[in-house]
Amino acid sequence: MFVSSYRVTKFAFQNFWRNFWLSIITVSMLLLTLVTINILLVLNVITDRAIELVEDRIEVSVYFYDYTEDTTVSAAVAYLRGLGQVRDVETVSADEAYTQFVTRHANDEEIMASLEELEENPFGPSLIVKAHRAEDFTQIIDALDNPQFRDSIREKDFSDYQNIVERIRSTTDRIRGFGIALAIIFLLIAILIVFNTVRIGIFIHREEIGIMRLVGASNWFIKAPFLLEMILLSLIAVGLTAIIVYPTVAFIEPQLSVYFSTESAGLVDYFTYNSLAIFGGQFLALVLVTLFSTGLAMRKYLKV
């Protein structure tokens, strides 16, 4: 068995070298398919990161009238914290609001003079509410219409982040759809090229195959080199993909980090921690696809 496996492997490598350019074309097509799939993965990570960052920055500011009692504010905080959609509630007292305003406008003499003329703190307390997801804000805003605090609230400031998130999602969904279509087209071309590579391989080796049959080679021994050759090509394609993908994500990572204003966009980490699942999975899927195509070609052209 070991001897036969060694010879099958030898024949598979011979097939590879004898059809070198055809092997190169096949690997290129498989590579193109895998690179497209990995671009989709990168896009997925970037989209998730972008949405995560946007969602992290979403907050609604609730401003109370300056006459609002502390107990009302505290009740509102407790009520909001009890809501499932709320991630965090931060209280800014009237004094804190005043200090923050003064700090922010310290260099604006006109504003500072106006403030001094008022003689008393014109600010009321406020709340900064953070939600888990952008779509939660509508419910939070609705919840603040509770009659218990409704009359104490002067203003609710909420930017339409849900719309932003939806726009990010719809743009990336469109790009993803295009990428998937492209990957499917590449995959179909790859299947046809694998089919043709095997067909030509069978044609080139027809004399040898005929003699193999004549002298009692098993069907497995005749077919296995073609199957093994395609596994080898799949392995080369996945290896090259990894060689292309890692430096590429390492190159774009700092630029993305600047864009997202974070230490790391998480791309390299994503590909490092999931490398086995990503490239192992792609290798297995590719092997299945190429073996399917090889099987079809052998069934049609290799009579054993």
Partner: protein, 226 residues
């Protein structure tokens, strides 16, 4: 060793290869199957090594009914039957040694066994001094001897030779026939398919004559009569 019982082979749409063939070849026999072109000689040979399946009747080789042999069992059958053709069927990019060794390699034989068997076989076919030659560096007779050597590496019980002298001159043909006789003397059953009158008459062994796919004569120590 070989038993045909009422064997017929019809090719689509309705071309008769052989029809109602019944014969028995005993172990160690040397039988010539003769007939004009298109009389079914090669079909008979192909039925023997399961390249074709009979439409009707049964075929037994060494007690093994191969009438409906399964695809996966054909390699096992072919390791017990050596086959030689008119066009030698050698691999041009392999040396004499490699061509003979190839039959053992594809059957999964271990390297030390190959190193042991191949030189012995090449000695039998008298090519021990031309191991490293390529087929195009050999005469037709020598190429056929390589093919016979390759057919012998599995120590087959039966050797089928389908027009082995068809591409050879008289001198080379005689050498091949002498070699086949020598192999037969070692106990291998030989089925020789030929239309070479001189060779058959020189042999003075059993001759089965086919005409229109049917056996029209089967004579011990026969002659080519057509």
């Amino acid at each position: 060793m070989i038993r045909f019982k009422n064997v017929s082979k019809t090719y689509p749409p309705n071309v008769i290869g052989v029809e109602g063939i019944s014969l028995h070849v005993k172990p160690g026999e040397f039988v010539s199957i003769v007939g004009k072109s298109g009389t079914g000689k090669s079909t008979l040979a192909k039925l023997l090594f399961a390249e074709e399946r009979p439409t009707r009747g049964t075929i037994e080789i060494g007690g093994w009914d191969i009438t409906h042999i399964h695809d996966r069992d054909i390699p096992l059958l072919r390791r017990q039957i050596g086959v030689v053709f008119q066009d030698f069927k050698l691999l041009p990019k392999k040396t004499v040694y490699e061509n003979v060794a190839f039959a053992l390699q594809v059957a999964g034989e271990r390297p030390h066994r190959i190193r042991e068997v191949v030189p012995k076989v090449l000695e039998i076919v008298n090519l021990e001094n031309k191991l490293d030659r390529y087929p195009n560096q050999l005469s037709g007779g020598e190429q056929q001897r390589v093919a016979i050597g390759r057919a012998l590496v599995h120590s087959p019980k039966i050797l089928i030779a389908d027009e082995p002298t068809g591409n050879l001159d008289t001198l080379n043909s005689r050498e091949i026939m002498d070699l086949l006789s020598k192999i037969n003397e070692f106990g291998t059953t030989i089925a020789l398919v030929t239309h070479d009158r001189d060779m058959v008459n020189r042999l003075r062994r059993r001759v089965i004559t086919l005409e229109d796919g049917k056996v029209v004569s089967d004579v011990e120590e026969g002659r080519y009569k057509l």
